[in-house]
Amino acid sequence: MKFKKVFSAWLCLMFFALLCVSIMLVTNVAFNKDSSSDYFSRYRTFEFRQSDGGER
């Protein structure tokens, strides 16, 4: 009974993971993004620090 409960919770989680990846893929296709480009390089160098008003 407990195994069934855990399995159904895991399935639910996997479904949402699949949904998340699907949203990302659809967005990629819709906006014609190339993941090999440096589009997301801004996140690689991102540091948590104080904002200066977004005028950089």
Binding site: K5, S8, A9, C12, L13, F15, F16, A17, L19, C20, V21, S22, I23, M24, T27, A30, F31, K33, Y39, R42, Y43, F46, F48, R49, Q50, S51, D52, G53, G54, E55, R56
Partner: protein
């Protein structure tokens, strides 16, 4: 519908969490407004998706499901913002980076998971985001006014107090906001209790009036009435029997 209880749902005012976006991002009003708008859109989209698949969601893994949804929606919002709204992509990096933490924190305090009505759930979601956004905008406004000496970019003072632009100033302004918010909600709670008490009393009064206007019959009167009715219903049957004889 579960009634919204601001004392349990406002994470910043009553638990002091969710400070990072407020302290680090809300240095100007415009920044705070932009972040609030993005947060609201993100939460509404997440709620829509969550509600679409609600029958299969297990309550034990509700928060991880929300987190996965938020990651997907955030990716979408990031793409839309960088494609259509803001040309300088580095300025939206901060918004999107803090968006995850803010949204997850708000969703950890939501109580609408058991609400089956779609409208009530959406209203709950918008109220939660609105409460957080209100804090963001209030803190951003004060920090801009006191720290930079400007209001929506227009200069009012020659220079501001640098303390309010710093992180410590942000925490200070947030604490003042929390104090004001707590006092206001406590007063509203008191008035709401007094009002509901008045409504209850008025309902009781109306009930009494109704009972006075339509008085209850005593037991003897009811028995007498019953007997009379029985007598009336038996009379015609006896007469017909006699006629037959």
């Amino acid at each position: 519908m579960i009634k919204h209880n601001s004392q349990t749902l406002s994470p910043i005012a009553f638990y002091g969490i969710g400070l990072a976006p407020i302290v680090l991002l809300c240095t100007t009003t415009l920044n705070a407004l932009k972040f609030s708008a993005v947060l609201l859109v993100c939460m509404v989209l997440c709620n829509l998706l969550y509600f679409a698949f609600k029958p299969i969601v297990k309550d034990e893994v509700r928060i991880p499901c929300y987190v996965l949804l938020i990651i997907g929606v955030e990716y979408f919002i990031d793409s839309v913002l960088s494609e259509f709204v803001i040309k300088n992509s580095s300025s939206i990096t901060e918004f999107v980076s803090y968006l995850l933490s803010a949204t997850v924190i708000i969703y950890m305090f939501e109580t609408s998971s058991k609400v089956k009505n779609f409208n009530a759930s959406m209203l709950d979601c918008v109220i939660m985001a609105g409460e957080y956004a209100m804090c963001l905008v209030a803190v951003g406004l004060f920090r801009e006014f006191l720290g930079h000496g400007t209001l929506f970019g227009a200069r009012i003072f020659k220079s501001g107090i640098a303390f309010f632009v710093s992180n410590a100033g942000g925490v200070f302004v947030t604490l003042v906001y929390v104090l004001v918010y707590s006092i206001l909600t406590a007063n509203i709670g008191k008035k709401r209790t007094a009002y509901s008490g008045l409504v209850d009393r008025y309902e009781l009064f109306l009930e009494d009036k109704f009972m006075e206007l339509t008085p209850m019959k005593s037991l003897d009167e009811m028995v007498n009435e019953n007997m009379q009715e029985n007598a009336v219903s038996e009379e015609p049957s006896t007469s017909t029997n006699e006629e037959v004889k």
